[in-house]
């Protein structure tokens, strides 16, 4: 997971790039065998350990998804944590620190 958190006009813009196959269970491999479903079911985002977003995902979300959301308030140096759980029970947590936008 790659997380970028930037403070822009009083809100934190969080961009999360997640590596996940997000298999629907409807595809077949090159030998014609069904590829089992494997997708993220829950994503939770926290700012300084306070939950700011919980989402329920399914098979309609793309492979290697990009998640972008904004959190009102916040400050440079805040810690943004994102974790996901998939239908196999795998989970992953990553975090990033809120930075000021790069000068243009």
């Amino acid at each position: 997971m790659r997380i970028r958190a930037t403070l822009r006009s009083g809100r934190i813009e969080v961009r999360v790039l997640i590596a996940h196959p997000m298999e629907t269970g409807l595809r077949k491999d090159e030998a014609g065998n069904p590829i089992p479903a494997w997708y993220i079911t829950d994503v939770t985002a926290r700012v300084n350990d306070r939950i700011v977003m919980k989402t329920a995902w399914g098979t309609a979300v793309s492979k290697d998804p990009l998640l972008v959301f904004h959190v009102l308030g916040g400050a440079v140096g805040d810690r943004v944590t994102v974790d996901w759980i998939d239908n196999r029970g795998d989970r992953r947590t990553d975090e990033a620190t809120v930075v000021a936008p790069a000068s243009p």
Partner: protein, 276 residues
Amino acid sequence: MTRGTAVAATAIRIAAVLPGLAWPAAPAAPSTHEAIEDYRARIADDNPAELAVAKGASLWREARGPRGASLGRCDLGLGPGIVAGAAARLPRWFADTGAVMDLEARIVHCMTTLQGFDRETLIAKPFAGAAEPTTDIEAIAAFVVDAARGATIDVPQERPEEVAAYRRGRALFHYRAGPYDFSCASCHGSAGHRIRLQELPDLSRPGPTARATYATWPAYRVSQGALRTLEWRLADCFRQQRWPRLRYLSPVAIDLATFLGVNANGGTMDAPGLKR
């Protein structure tokens, strides 16, 4: 927001345009080219190839293989361990193998000689299949080209072997064969052609399309959800021409890569790219 929301954004745009439908005051519909450029701009946000680059970076640094070595001493042409900018100067001739090698051939060479991996096993399945994660070779290739972003393409033609590779590549590019009597030049030999909605770059001569194309491979293919290398692109062109399978790292593949690379000299590396 996921990639899917680009559709919602398009719907909003159409709704906004509707009041203008009183003909002939309606704004001109975007040309096919503009519509594709618009689509590319929308998917350009946060290239998933970055995930492959991150994987490749750790594969480069980790001690791996039977010899438990990292790739830190791998010589990509600029000296052992120098990654920055190296991809912009490949393919090139290497003294240690006495051969012209492209990026993927050199990565496999380093994995074999430094880490002790078995070459045949490595190249038996160089590309990820459906639902498979990026292969090690693909990820390392993504990492190496990412380290050349912004570098000027300068594929050397100093050694006679390099000139010979270019000349063979040029001949192969124009060689017509197979049940369709196709050559690479059938699709990529002149400007202004397209197949369905896809514009076909003219790769037969130096020019902006040759530079822009070579500069953006390897690339993440959105339609396949996978990072693809230049040799994958060449192999798939062979399949599309109904030619025999292009053998990975073969002289044919490397000669074609040399031809494309030299034609792109002067361009600016911008890989891994993002393709539809």
